[in-house]
Amino acid sequence: MDSPAANAAFAKQINVKFPLLSDMNKKMLTAYGILKGYDVQSESYQWAQRANIVIDKNGIVQHVEEGDSAVNPNNALSVCTDLHKKQTAK
């Protein structure tokens, strides 16, 4: 897992304006079921899945995409936009 210091260097490099988070103790990854275990030559390793997750204002999961397709954020973005439209229409 990347440390906050590594993330700070990355954030500076790509100039992002949103927080880059570190899950050093893998608690969140485990709770969300996106930490996978692999055995390679009798050694065990843990590896996070790539994932996009959208959680609404009430804390309810509205979108989950895991694996290679999660490289593309567009599905998650459209869920965000739809959510926002619904919420502001109320």
Binding site: M1, A8, D23, K36, V61, V71
Partner: protein, 89 residues
């Protein structure tokens, strides 16, 4: 591609539509090769649409704690788990 995706998210955040959190994860395992004998195990049941998202507290790149529950009632949250983000690939 990767950069475009990040800019998209930044644009979305600046419009205030949702909070974007990116979890950069570097795998602690070596790259798997076809010769490696690996068995994939699911750590826990995956999250499904409609579930209540488990709360988390994580350290940001600014060494500040970010809690999911801080956004409750305020913002929708887009959480991106980005493996191998800090690489040249």
């Amino acid at each position: 591609m990767k950069r475009a995706a990040l800019i998209n998210r930044a644009t979305l955040t600046s419009r205030g539509i949702c909070a974007v959190l990116l979890l950069a994860a570097l795998p602690s395992a070596p790259l798997l090769t076809s010769s490696a004998q690996n068995t994939e195990q699911v750590a826990k049941a995956s999250l499904k649409v409609g579930d209540t998202a488990p709360d988390f507290t994580l350290l940001s790149d600014q060494w500040k704690t970010v809690k999911l529950s801080d956004f409750r009632g305020k913002k929708n949250v887009f959480l991106a788990v980005y493996v191998l983000a800090f690489t040249g690939g």
